[in-house]
Amino acid sequence: MTLRPRPEKRDPLQRKVERHVPAGLRSRAMHAMSARAAQGRFVLQQCVECSAVTYPPRDICPVCWGELAWRDQVQGATLLAETTVRVTTDLYFRAHMPWRMGTIALDAGPVALAHLSRNLTVGGRADVRLMIDKGGNAALFAMAAGEEPDMSDKQWREFVVPVRDRTILVTDGRGAVGQAVVAALQAAGAASVVVGLPAPAQPPAALAGLTGVRIVPLDLTDTRSVSECLTDIAGPLDIVVNTARFVRRGDGLIDQKHALDVTVLGLLRLTQGCAPMLQGRPSGAFVDIVSSAALAPDAGFPAFSAAQAAHLSLLQSFRHQMRGSGVRVMTLFTGPVDDEDHQSVPMPKVAPSRIAKGVVDALEGGREQLCVGDAAVDAMARWSDDPALYIREKNL
């Protein structure tokens, strides 16, 4: 096995870098904005009566005192003023000085402060994105209009999880999704992709000969195996992508127990083991692939659905446990996957390669939540709109 050279040089005698996150105190309205930002939406509050758009988040319309609702908005803006902050009392930003920010006039109406890309200048047109900062809260990031995100921009990198040159653990190299994820991460420039393979599976041919890919034993149902796998990685671990799942029809007790062992207890074993490793890294992230059956059960797959629901619950707790450490926890929702587990499920099904692309997109786009494939997008839309109806109509 050959490793790509790591550009990061580390002096073993240096004291461990202690990492901080931006201040987390926010109003309830701001948290509502963050919850939508986590879904990749660009929203501002709009009055349901006079249609005035307002920012920062308020609890009542400042124009007519009508009720406010979150609405998707156009993302254009103009930069009015800028500054480069060089001094701060905040520990997180102190470690990232100097920091460029500015005043933008949003095309949607309000004026906002925003983080700025290197290429945006005063008077210039901007595209604004609603990102999630290292502390887990929504933040506006303005780029020059038409500008592609620049992974070498150190401010932008604070809002995303770069894949290039990173060490990544992917669980369950036996599955089609796991294998596709490994290939995608490798193609995106990961320095080292460690692939966990539960015994007694043989190393899959799909992973043979990939540079920087290493296969290690990893069985999420075995606490010791998880611990030994993480020990075996030894060096820094930046990202974990969990693709392990156990999909069976019906609600057999043995299958249910195994699904819970892999998906629920397995997630706990994995997160408890890897959290300290991820916390020490500048851009630690944990990505998990969750079936939209976690939102509302599929009565044809009750055991699987239950395990996925419990899995999602733990994943959300893990996200909030990691909030203070800057480790991003990302959820990829998928519908039925076009793999051997869903042979009898009719189309549309999402291709493993599409999920793999979603993993890279979520990391490099800083997305806390991403629905991959039409079925997942549809499921999320219906569930968000009317959960009770969705549970019924899904199983008619």
Binding site: A199, P200, Q202, D222, T223, S225, G252, I254, K257, H258
Partner: protein
Amino acid sequence: MTAVETVLSGLTSGIASGGIAVVDLTNTLSPDFPVIVLPAEFGQCEPFRMETVSRYDGDGPAWYWNNISMNEHTGTHFDAPAHWITGKDVPNGTVDRLPPADFIHPAVVIDISAQAAADEDFILTRAFLEAWEASHGPIPPRHWILLRTDWYKRVGTLAYLNLKEDGAHSPGPDAEAMRFLVHERACIGLGVETVGTDAGQAAHFEEPLPAHSVLHGNGRYGLQCLTNLDQLPVRGAVIVATPLKIQGGSGSPLRVIALKPGL
């Protein structure tokens, strides 16, 4: 002392003095010890798992203990007649109802390690057994038949289960051999180093899985995942194999020891 008391006393003093050697035929029960893998359409065997409850810590400052879970047929284990459909009507065929006297029996060791090394799908036939008897003498009744393959040396590697695209590959008996041992030699059971008493490819035999089928259909037992069979004499060893008393259980992990003449 009665004659029996003399025998028992001799046993314990023999063990104490080393005149009787005790050989551990058991593999260590660990989470990574492989379990049998069935074709995907069947339910699967759950491996041994262990979670620490406390270890002199906040959950138990002065004590250490674990919760464990496993399939009955995990690690070095005992197969009772009820394990197989052919044995489903055998009286007292579950581990909790077996006669305790059956837990201690003498053994003969048949060494097929050279053949297994040459051919991992080596089939033990009646002809082989007859040839073996010709050179080693007849197999006496009410004995464990222990098949020495040296397969235990593969433990810890993928070559132990030896799974390939067409399934597992490991040595084992055919149906004629099993009928010979059960009906004509009245064996107590068959003990092997591999993960099953049957050969890896035995599902594809003309009479599939003959060891399980013939042994259990006739009230005989199986011992799997044994180790150290190469330390036993061809004759003269006594096997102590006491499965857990699991209500209605089809088998159980257990500690198997052999007594043999010592120094």
